[in-house]
């Protein structure tokens, strides 16, 4: 669901000069591997068939993100936005170049990826919080806030498989925004839940910005990013084609 543009708060981010993320000449090649088993591998070796087609998901990407900045990553499908985010979070490793970070990172690459349907909401909050890097003390301290934010108090001990998809996303998002890292990686999650909840999420993002958190946000909601970000990077076929003012960036993407 697209957030109501009037609800999107203006950016509260205060950029500083302290670099938090350094992406240095990062390239990542993906192979579309067809061969999944040894048998197929042996046969393709015998037939001298080409093993896999490859493409450059990231091509010599250079990017520095400073503390307090909210950087948007935009581009069409397959332009390498998510790959870049995954490379920064440490899920993927660059083939060439390197990524360096300062401070603790939490990647919200996909809301609810760490959730298990057979566990209760409470158990999932703990498991997912720990996966996102929270300690037991932090979790116990913030548990009530997390549940209150998600507004599903009465179902917290129900197994997650009985949740509606909206409830599920609310809880997952709530855990994620309470992890309180120095660097926040956000992939297409600002479109969860109903309108009031979305408003709340955006409000929370604004709070994090005001608190000086660094954010890298991937989204297709161009208007929203334009308001939320201090800087936008446009990617096309794994290359950075624009890096700078949000309004210009959106124009660049629309023109291409």
């Amino acid at each position: 669901m697209t957030p109501n543009i009037a609800d999107v708060p203006t950016s509260a981010a205060v950029p500083t000069d302290r670099a938090m993320v350094r992406v240095e000449h990062v390239s990542k090649r993906f192979s579309l591997r067809h061969d999944r088993s040894l048998k197929e591998l042996v046969f393709s070796a015998l037939q001298r068939k080409k093993l896999a087609d490859t493409f450059m998901a990231l091509d010599d990407v250079d990017l520095t993100v400073h503390a307090g900045e909210t950087v948007g990553l935009i581009g069409f499908n397959g332009s390498g936005k998510s790959t870049l985010l995954k490379t920064i979070s440490g899920v993927l490793f660059p083939d060439l170049g390197r990524v360096m970070l300062r401070g603790r990172v939490a990647g919200l690459i996909e809301v609810g990826a760490g959730f298990h349907p057979d566990l209760s909401g409470r158990e999932n909050v703990f498991l997912n919080g720990a996966i996102l890097g929270m300690s037991r003390e932090q979790l116990e301290e913030r548990f009530d806030d997390i549940v209150a934010f998600s507004e599903i108090e009465e179902f917290i001990d129900t197994e997650v498989k009985y949740y509606s998809s909206g409830m599920f996303l609310r809880l997952a998002f709530s855990v994620a925004v309470h992890t309180d890292p120095d660097i926040f990686l956000v992939d297409e999650i600002l479109s969860v839940g109903d309108e009031p909840f979305q408003k709340k999420c955006l409000e929370r993002i604004r709070e994090l910005q005001a608190a000086g958190r660094t954010m890298v946000v991937v989204s297709h909601e161009l208007e929203m990013l334009q308001k939320l970000c201090t800087r936008i990077v446009v990617l096309r076929k794994g290359k950075i084609i624009f890096d700078g003012d949000p309004t210009e960036a959106v124009a660049v993407l629309r023109a291409s």
């Binding site: 090649r29 899920v91 390197r98 990647g107 690459i109």
Partner: protein, 310 residues
């Protein structure tokens, strides 16, 4: 795909001093010790998921070995008359079965731990060592009831705990866990690339019961293989060493065995184990550590490709 030298990937000393680090740069094989809280939650999750929708739940971890034991006891002990030459054959048999079961479960679960948690591995960064370690701890939880049954059975057969038994048991557990975790990390890493590996592992687990002295006694193997290289290979199998240690711990010093050895029965001497009491424990430990090191290295080298391969 050209690989850059690792030195270029990680921050230099000067950069580290400024607080820079590479994403996914973690404590490697020490992670399970550092991330104990997360590890515990993962174990809890595994246990919960394992018995979802099952009425008997944990009871299954008693039922399965019990049935397995009965079948082997009837087929090997009664039909093939192995219990005639072996006093307290039931204890002998069960102390081997628990070893092979633990081996099978740790090995099998660890092999599937990366592919089984694919959704997580591909999306969120977690130190991936935690997955095989969580599998091992789940297997240990299932091992405890079996151990309890074994101890009760041994006591009923005139066994009393002793320092020798305790040392043999602890040595056996140490060798078994280090060895199996080494193998498990190796196969977990390979299984992420080729799913064939898990079937191969099932095969090894199936064969393991028969290639270590679980059902028969080791002197029977010596009788047919003595003097050949195969006899040495058989003895150096870490599982053989661990099963023997378990026999020492729970069977060898129980009353029926000691009594039988004291008689002048012509074959009574065969009940004594080679190299009593701890046999080739040092060789077992050495092999186990070597396998663990190899497993860790392979795992560490391939873990950065997991997210791509799943």
């Amino acid at each position: 795909m050209t690989a850059t030298a690792p030195a270029r990937r990680t921050p230099s000393a000067a950069e580290r001093a400024e607080g820079w680090k590479a994403p996914g740069q973690d404590a490697g094989w020490l992670n399970p010790l550092k991330e104990r809280f997360l590890l515990r939650l993962l174990v809890k999750k595994e246990l919960r998921v394992r018995y979802r929708g099952s009425v008997l739940g944990m009871v299954w971890s008693y039922v399965k070995p019990a049935v397995q034991f009965l079948v082997f006891y009837i087929a090997m002990g009664v039909f093939l008359e192995l219990n005639k030459g072996t006093p307290a054959y039931a204890v002998y048999l069960f102390s081997g079965i628990v070893v092979v079961n633990l081996f099978g479960e740790v090995f099998g679960n660890a092999t599937r731990s990366i592919t089984g948690n694919g959704a997580l591995v591909a999306k969120i960064y977690i130190p991936s060592q935690l997955f095989p370690w969580a599998s091992m701890m789940v297997a240990l939880v299932h091992f405890l009831p079996q151990l309890l049954v074994l101890v009760v059975g041994a006591v009923l057969n005139g066994w009393l705990p002793s320092p020798t038994a305790a040392v043999a048991f602890l040595l056996g557990m140490l060798i078994l866990l280090v060895f199996t975790m080494g193998l498990g990390m190796l196969t977990a890493a390979l299984n992420a690339a080729f799913r064939d590996v898990e079937n191969f592992v099932d095969l090894i687990v199936m064969v393991a019961t028969w290639l270590s002295p679980v059902l028969y006694r080791i002197d029977m193997v010596q009788k047919s293989l003595d003097g050949t290289i195969l006899w040495w290979i058989y003895q150096l199998n870490p599982l053989t060493i661990v099963v023997q240690l378990f026999h020492i711990a729970f069977w060898r010093y129980s009353k029926p065995v000691v009594d039988e050895l004291a008689t002048d029965h012509p074959f009574a001497y065969t009940l004594a184990q080679p190299g009593e009491p701890y046999g080739l424990w040092w060789a077992g430990l050495l092999i186990a550590v070597a396998v663990f090191v190899i497993g860790t290295i392979v795992f560490e080298r391939s873990k950065r490709r997991f997210a791509q391969e799943l």
